[in-house]
């Protein structure tokens, strides 16, 4: 039953093929059998089974929702009341949130069953899951490979079918890059679509929660649950949300696909390029038109991001001071020493690097040269997309420049690690929605993702375009051997 999509699971639950308790038990057993992947930080067996039993009653009464009784893995960045929420950090190793994130509340209200919390790069800062305090996650396709990051635990869990769906968050590619590296489907919605309330902050002008699933159809069902206006998030958009499933089956003949030349230049592995070109050929067969476009400033997105994201992070993470919650150093001389030792011991190396870069960029005398300069570049990068979308409906390219790299390969060189996100970062800077869809495999047998970027607030079109690809290909239903 673990190979079914949630749309198939919903039908099976209604038909009485199995109960939500049986389904939940099955996934909990699989999580237990595959602990070596290290995809989960916490598993909540007791509450999961209780929620499943409640879902079974609702199913029996005949008024179940599409998500009723469906198990879900939650990224450990979403606060869960009474269930430890670590954000992958020693700083929050024992943090028990007193409230639920809006996203969590919405899943509970929809009748979903929380299996547990997935591993992630510390405070979502990383592209390989190697910065987690709780140890790296393995890629189910090849245990030597990283699963990507920061939502690596969620991606590995869905790829290994330890959970049918999982949540993720994406600040610079943290849903799409691990989705690509693990061969699953992920969507980062437009900025403001999904509430950030109770989602632990990294870079507030970029962070956005989204769905990770086997298919675009499932990602749409999830987004129907997750999206919507929330008074408690001042950046939540007060607009109606569409039914993201409604237009999945629309014909895409005549769709204009923009291909930015910058996404197919140096730095892209040849076998990834081959897979992406084959995927685009499939769209040609579906009568889509290809349009050559240019995003000239996208090349500067990585430098721009590595000012803005650390600057926002240095401010957001100042709250971890050992006073109100989280880790406190056991020994110190005075208040300042307590702050310094707490933060030195509670944060890992990459988080400290980014806090320091951000502190420097915001410090007196450097603000204009770094932070202001980066904000101006951000405008140019966003304007490039506006111009491109005058010529096309969606933009396509590779999600990541290579297939999953080996664990340890890039840990000594932060800049090499950052370059993994060259295609995903421009999208966050502009606040646009984008997806990664399984498109094939590299010569090393590791998955490749097709990156599809949509127009602002047009997730429906994006999901439609991805779903039509999945109707004529079966890359999304491939599973790693042994799972």
């Amino acid at each position: 039953m673990h190979d079914k999509t949630i749309s198939q699971l919903a039908t099976a639950l209604r038909d009485g093929e199995f109960s939500s308790v049986e389904l939940t038990r099955h996934f909990l057993d699989r999580i237990g059998q595959h602990q070596d992947l290290n995809a989960f930080v916490s598993v909540d067996e007791e509450n999961a089974l209780a929620a499943a039993a409640a879902a079974d009653e609702k199913l029996a009464s005949g008024n179940a929702d599409p998500m009723t009784g469906i198990p879900v893995a939650q990224k450990d960045i979403f606060c869960t009341e009474g269930l430890r929420t670590t954000c992958g950090s020693k700083m929050l190793e024992n943090f028990i949130p007193p409230y639920n994130a809006t996203v969590i509340e919405k899943f509970i209200a929809a009748g979903a069953v929380t299996l547990g919390k997935t591993n992630m790069d510390e405070f979502a800062m990383g592209s390989s899951n190697e910065t987690s305090y709780f140890g790296p996650v393995k890629n189910p396709w090849d245990h030597k490979a990283v699963p990507g990051g920061s939502s690596g635990g969620s991606a590995a869990a869905v790829a290994a079918r330890l959970a049918p769906i999982a949540t993720g968050t994406d600040t610079g590619g943290s849903i799409r890059q691990p989705a690509a590296l693990c061969g699953i489907t992920g969507i980062k919605p437009s900025y403001g679509r999904v509430s950030r309330y109770g989602m632990i902050a990294f870079a507030s002008s970029l962070d956005q929660g989204g769905s990770m699933a086997q298919t675009a159809e499932d990602a749409a069902i999830m987004l129907n649950v997750m999206a919507g206006f929330d008074e408690r998030d001042s950046t939540s958009l007060a607009i109606d949300k569409p039914d993201f499933s409604a237009s999945l089956n629309d014909d895409i003949a005549g769709l204009k696909i923009g291909l930015p030349k910058e996404f197919f230049e140096d730095g892209l592995n040849a076998d990834v390029a081959r897979v992406v070109e084959n995927a685009i050929d499939e769209y040609k067969k579906l009568d889509a038109e290809l349009v050559d476009i240019s995003l000239p400033n996208s090349k500067l997105a990585v430098p721009c991001y590595y000012v803005l994201a650390p600057a926002e992070a240095s401010s957001n993470l100042s709250r971890y001071d050992g006073v109100r919650y989280g880790y406190r150093a056991p020994e110190y001389d005075d208040l300042e020493d307590m702050y310094k030792k707490t933060r030195a011991q509670g944060f890992g190396a990459e988080v400290k690097r980014r806090i320091m870069i951000g502190t420097y960029a915001l410090s007196s005398g450097y603000y204009d040269a770094y932070y202001m300069k980066a904000q101006k570049l951000r405008r140019l990068i966003a304007d490039d997309f506006d111009r491109a979308f005058e010529q096309c409906d969606v933009i396509m390219g590779p999600t990541a420049p290579s297939t999953a790299f080996n664990a340890g390969e890039k840990t000594d060189d932060p800049v090499q690690m950052y370059l993994n996100d060259i295609y995903t970062i421009p999208v966050n800077l502009a606040g646009l929605p984008a997806m990664s869809v399984p498109a094939g495999f590299g010569n090393d047998g590791r998955p490749v993702g097709l990156h599809i970027i949509g127009q602002y607030l047009n997730e429906s079109r994006l999901l439609n375009v991805a779903h039509q690809f999945q109707r004529v290909t079966d890359w999304h239903s491939k599973t790693p051997e042994g799972y």
Binding site: I96, T235, P303, K340, K373, D413, G431
Partner: protein, 95 residues
């Protein structure tokens, strides 16, 4: 852009992160390579460009000035590293 050890130590102080002399040297190399990456921004003239702080251009929404949260003092204090009588305990700051 090359940061030296003492510059890194002053950044670490601003960020309230304790670092050893050895770590300061390692961070100086790491942070310098990140700043070299960041320096690529200078290739583009941005003089007349309006900075973009956020994907939404609209001002932040305001809410009514009304009490919406209930008192959850005990629940919130439960995560405190050190607390006494419903107060957070910190090292003495006033002699």
């Amino acid at each position: 852009m090359k940061l030296n050890k003492s510059e890194v130590e002053s950044i670490a102080h601003l960020a309230r992160v304790e670092i050893s002399a050895e770590q300061a040297r390692a961070y100086a190399a790491d942070l310098s390579s990140i700043l070299d990456l960041v320096a690529q921004m200078n290739a583009v003239d941005t003089d007349a460009i309006e900075p973009m702080a956020h994907p939404h251009e609209a001002p932040l929404r305001l809410r009514d000035d009304a009490v919406t949260e209930t008192n959850q003092r005990e629940k919130l204090m439960a995560n405190a590293p050190a607390a006494e009588n419903g107060l957070f305990l910190v090292p003495r700051v006033i002699e």
